[in-house]
């Protein structure tokens, strides 16, 4: 489903990716682990079309996104990819419900009932009308997940989603992701430096210095 060939990313000061090849199939849960500076976040950004590679290609379901223009990418993204980041980038002056509806707005039309149901599925049915500042870290991330999944994307890209959370909340979030992954069926690519978090996936890619050095299947 996702094909990456010869991906290179060069900055003025450093080389982030030195040639990455990988294949990810549908409904896989892939964890990417590595020390900081290994290029894992860069890889994720390019996978999601948030950044362009210097060389190489990324093909998702037959479409080569590395050559798409910005607006084309935007359309592709909203129908196929959901993002969760380490910081919960929620619009501070909108409520939780409105933040989810915002994702609906850019995709097609707004459906409040659907947004409500989505938030209930992540366990925030009672916090619909709270602003992000009134929610805890874990709750904010749950809103992010609901927002990322509202448009039924085929891929969920998560960059250190539990990086700012404590142990308990980390576990809760990962459990939520597992349940959703099982019920709704989408591919997860999760980037982390925490082995515990990485262990929740079915496959582990280890990166170092801009290259994938290990690709192993994890036992359930």
């Amino acid at each position: 489903m996702i094909k990456v060939r010869g991906l290179k990313k060069v900055y003025q000061t450093a080389i982030a990716l030195r040639g990455v090849d990988m294949d990810i199939s549908q409904n896989e849960w892939v964890s990417i682990m590595g020390p900081s500076g290994s290029g894992k976040s860069t890889l994720l950004n390019i996978l999601g079309g948030l950044d362009y590679p210097s060389e190489g290609s990324v093909t998702i379901n037959g479409k080569e996104i590395s050559s798409m223009k910005e607006d084309e990418l935007a359309v592709f993204r909203r129908e196929n990819i959901g993002f969760v980041f380490q910081q919960s980038y929620l619009i501070p002056y909108l409520t939780a419900l409105e933040n989810v509806m915002l994702a609906q707005y850019f995709h097609s039309i707004v459906d409040e009932k659907e947004a409500k149901e989505a938030l209930e599925r992540v366990g925030l049915g009672h916090r619909l009308h709270h602003k992000p500042s009134e929610l805890s870290g874990g709750e904010q991330q749950r809103v992010c997940i609901a927002r990322a999944l509202i448009n039924s994307p085929k891929i969920l890209l998560a960059d250190e989603p539990t990086g700012n959370l404590d142990r308990e909340n980390t576990r809760l979030i990962l459990e939520l992701l597992r349940d959703l992954h099982r019920n709704e069926g989408f591919t997860i690519v999760l980037v982390t430096h925490d082995p515990y978090v990485a262990g929740w996936g079915k496959r582990l890619l280890t990166m170092e210095d801009g290259r994938i050095i290990k690709d192993e299947v994890l036992h359930p």
Binding site: E79, Q104, H107, S108, I109, D111, E114, I150, N151, S152
Partner: protein
């Protein structure tokens, strides 16, 4: 010798513009139809266009050489106006069920002929009259040629526009768009001749008038003079100009609004199994497409309403006096300039009516702002003699709404009232009766309306 007459240019330009625009629209609509027919269409289209243009050209030249009775000329011009009504009714009916018809494409040459054949004939009649009046054949036809060319230029830059246009055209939208073209560019005179809104309004007024009259006859209400007057006054209040103007607007706009509301509804039927994001996307795509298709209707409503506002401002408010009967004395009609209660030199038109041998003749006296008197028949050479009304800065031919600037009244030609010779001496105007009878022969249909 002037080689260019503006009126000819304008009329030809209008016709050419409407033909080319309509052609563009049909082409755009056709391109939105499924691919399979397309290859056949291209071949067919080019030939269709040639055939249609050929027919129009033949019509044009036959018009120049034909010497039709005024009655038939008028019929042709009326037909041109009726095509708007037919298009509009067709649009409304097709809007009731949003299905397209491919038959339209194959009937394109006929469509062009139907819509524009009458216009083309009228244009050639108009140009012939214009040349005769201005004694300038070259100027007329060169002007017309330039006008036609200017309109056709549009077609050359049309290919990209066709792609864009095809997004907004459904069959209903196409018919509405063609109606707008007919409305804006219909008519071949120098000005918008058979303007829709006054025609509809007058038709309505006549309809109400006759309807109520028949009602009274039906109920055998006695024709008592007193009853008649008061009742008619009362009725006049309701079916007077303002009311019928408003009804006209409703008749024109309401059906389009209804269709619009049906177009802009969310989809009634959503395919099986579409849920969540997929359903929303389907609804969104559906609504976007429908909104595009609604554009011709919205344009139609805006155009009609705007024209209506302009008409409503200048329409009623025409000063049309009742003609005063006069009698002949020794072959002359004498009018005193100043009589108690009436001053025919006061700058307003004063109408008079004169009966001879069972025929009614109407004429008016008008003192122009530059001080000169103009005495003319209350009719012109071109239009049916419904007479003239007075607006703020011009007289208006009631039939065709052509404005005649005050200071050109008394000059012959076009839609100007036919001038008659008179003598003004000792504060008296004398008109020879033979002059009236002679000049009346020039009047369009020769039959007075009274």
């Amino acid at each position: 010798m002037r080689f260019f007459i503006p009126e000819a240019f304008i009329s030809a330009f209008k016709l050419s513009l409407s033909v080319c625009l309509s052609w563009l629209l049909v082409k755009a609509y056709a391109s939105s139809i499924k691919e399979g027919i397309k290859s056949h269409l291209n071949f067919y289209f080019r030939h269709q266009l040639l055939i249609a243009v050929l027919f129009l050209v033949i019509l044009f030249f036959s018009g120049t050489y034909l010497n039709l009775d005024a009655y038939y000329k008028d019929l042709i011009r009326r037909f041109s106006a009726y095509t708007f009504g037919i298009l509009y009714i067709g649009a409304v009916f097709s809007g009731w069920s949003l299905r397209g018809t491919r038959v339209l494409i194959f009937l394109t040459p006929l469509l062009l002929l139907f819509l524009f054949g009458a216009d083309t004939l009228s244009l050639s009649f108009f140009l012939k009259d214009l040349s005769a009046m201005r004694q300038n054949y070259e100027g007329t036809y060169i002007g017309a040629l330039l006008g036609t060319g200017a309109g056709a230029l549009l077609l050359i830059f049309s290919s990209r526009l066709v792609k864009r246009l095809s997004l907004i055209l459904s069959f209903t939208g196409l018919l509405f768009s063609l109606s707008i073209i007919k409305l804006l560019f219909g008519g071949t005179g120098g000005y918008a001749e058979l303007s829709l809104i006054p025609s509809v309004q007058r038709g309505l007024m006549k309809f109400f008038h006759d309807f109520v009259h028949q009602l009274f006859v039906f109920f055998m209400v006695p024709d008592h003079p007193l009853l008649k007057t008061t009742v008619w006054n009362f009725i006049g209040l309701f079916f007077g100009e303002a009311f019928t103007m408003f009804i006209t607007l409703l008749i024109l706009v309401v059906p389009a609004l209804i269709i619009l509301s049906r177009i802009l509804r969310p989809p009634q039927v959503i395919p099986e199994g579409f849920t969540g994001a997929r359903k929303r996307k389907y609804i969104y795509d559906f609504m976007t497409m429908m909104r595009l298709k609604a554009v011709p209707l919205i344009v139609f409503i805006i155009v009609v309403t705007t024209l209506w506002f302009f008409k409503a401002e200048s329409g009623p408010g025409l000063y049309i006096p009742q003609p005063v009967p006069v009698v002949e004395e020794n072959g002359f009609i004498t009018l005193k300039l100043n009589e108690p209660g009436r001053n025919i030199g006061d700058g307003n038109i004063h109408k008079f009516i004169f009966k001879k041998d069972g025929q009614n003749y109407r004429f008016f006296v008008f003192n122009r702002p530059d001080g000169r008197f103009a005495i003319c028949l209350d009719a012109c050479e071109i239009c049916p003699p419904e007479g003239y009304g007075q607006a703020r800065a011009h007289l208006v031919c009631i039939y065709c709404n052509t404005p005649i600037p005050f200071n050109t009244v008394g000059e012959p030609g076009g839609c100007n009232p036919i001038p008659i010779n008179f003598s003004l001496r000792d504060r008296e105007i004398r008109i020879e009766v033979q002059e009236i009878l002679k000049k009346w022969r020039l009047v369009h249909s020769g039959v007075s309306r009274e």
